[in-house]
Symmetry: C2
DNA sequence: ACCTGAACACCGTTCAAGT
DNA sequence: ACCTGAACACCGTTCAAGT
């Protein structure tokens, strides 16, 4: 229904990444970039992505909002820095020791848990490139993992992309639903009734509402995640065998 | 490094969905909700998610910004309505005719293309529940598809979730990268050099930069998408065979 | 039933001016 | 080298008041 239009200025300012320019040489005292990022993450944990404003962050550091602009070019750069800290919490077990499949599986679970612990980062995945040192480190170890598995050339990157796509794609909507229901004025029962009502015309969807998301959401989501992960890894394994 | 804290008020107001309350009965003239949604989508196509404001939308409809609040409770509801229109463009071929695997594959490609055509919708996936009639229709047809394939009970939903997770997870960062580079002050070559520089310490990542994203991004992404999709469907197929 | 404008409580960012 | 406050150009949303 819509034409394919690519706006010249999506955000009316040119893109640039903190990671793609020379770092300001670390000078001595006053506030530090690390301190600012740490405070930003605190604020993000407490109030979510929408709760972080330069003004509030300044206040938390007992500084003027605009002082921060000496350490960081703009808010997006600050978010890039915070985002990379999240990547820093993901772990990739050594595939040489545990085998590529266990390594991949553990990484997938680690990624999911880390994102669930930092719900604000879910929105950033679709907004910021992951070019920080922590993100690159994870990518590097993943590539090694899939090399050990036996992939070669571009397939290594394709396998990388496939695994992360699956984990992110499973986890991002999970978080959306979590925050929505947590902020909801209704309890789980009311919620189910309303959804059932909305889905009244779709018998196949209705059918799933009773088993699904509502009974023990947490447990079912784990099952679902493992189901997809197993399928995914089976599929990758089959490719290696062929 | 951070505690698991769930803020009471992520956005400081309770969640509710347009789809979960009785629709205002359609009265006659003046502006209509459809008209507003149509104009909103135009604006979204032209200027992206950040470019849509109630004020600009009002102006485009030669109305006061606040008139819109008679048709829609808030901006998020408006976005839900626009978001569901996107789902309306996704197609699921009849699995009885083409078989579940071709049906799934065609749906996956359709989803990807639709999101690529509406980059603004990528951000909404992680923010709004997909409870509109179009989203439900797609979900319903997907469920039927996986039933035809032979899945039963919760596995039907798990297969659904797995497929959508893969497609969204692959496409969302793709869009993030697209918009970033389109808005960038640098061309592809400069970009590659800067990324290479950022990744200097990670030999395995470096290794991939030459084949990868830069040579013919479009074509490589298709290859990558098909690689993961095939793996995914192979994995699901294996489960059916077992 | 529909629309308006003024007003409230916010934003990110720039920039001249201070120390 | 670092920090400030004022100012600019925006936001979403409420609400009394109009027709």
């Amino acid at each position: 229904m819509c034409e394919l239009i690519y706006p010249e200025d999506m955000s009316s300012k040119a893109f640039s990444s903190v990671w793609l320019r020379e770092p300001r040489k670390a000078t001595s005292p006053g506030r530090s970039r690390e301190e600012i990022v740490r405070a930003a993450i605190e604020l993000l944990q407490e109030e979510g992505l929408a709760g972080l404003s330069m003004r509030k962050l300044g206040a938390r550091l007992s500084a003027g909002a605009t002082s921060l602009y000496w350490y960081v070019a703009n808010k997006d750069e600050l978010l890039e820095l915070a985002y990379d800290e999240v990547w820093g919490e993901m772990t990739v077990p050594d595939p040489e020791e545990v085998g590529w499949r266990d390594s991949a599986s553990a990484l997938a679970h680690s990624m999911r848990q880390v994102i669930l612990r930092h719900p604000w980062s879910a929105d950033l995945i679709g907004r910021l490139p992951a070019l920080g040192p922590n993100a690159l480190r994870v990518t590097d170890r993943m590539r090694r993992m899939f090399k050990v598995a036996g992939f070669e050339g571009p397939d290594i990157d394709f396998a990388n992309a496939t695994l992360t796509a699956y984990v992110f794609g499973m986890t991002i909507p999970e978080i959306a639903w979590n925050t929505a229901t947590r902020n909801s004025a209704y309890d789980a029962d009311q919620m189910r009734d309303m959804v059932r009502n909305a889905a009244a015309e779709f018998p196949d969807v209705l059918e799933s509402l009773d088993l699904d998301i509502y009974t023990d959401p947490q447990a079912i989501r784990e099952l679902c995640f493992d189901f997809g992960l197993t399928s995914m890894l089976d599929g990758l394994g089959r490719r290696l065998a062929a």
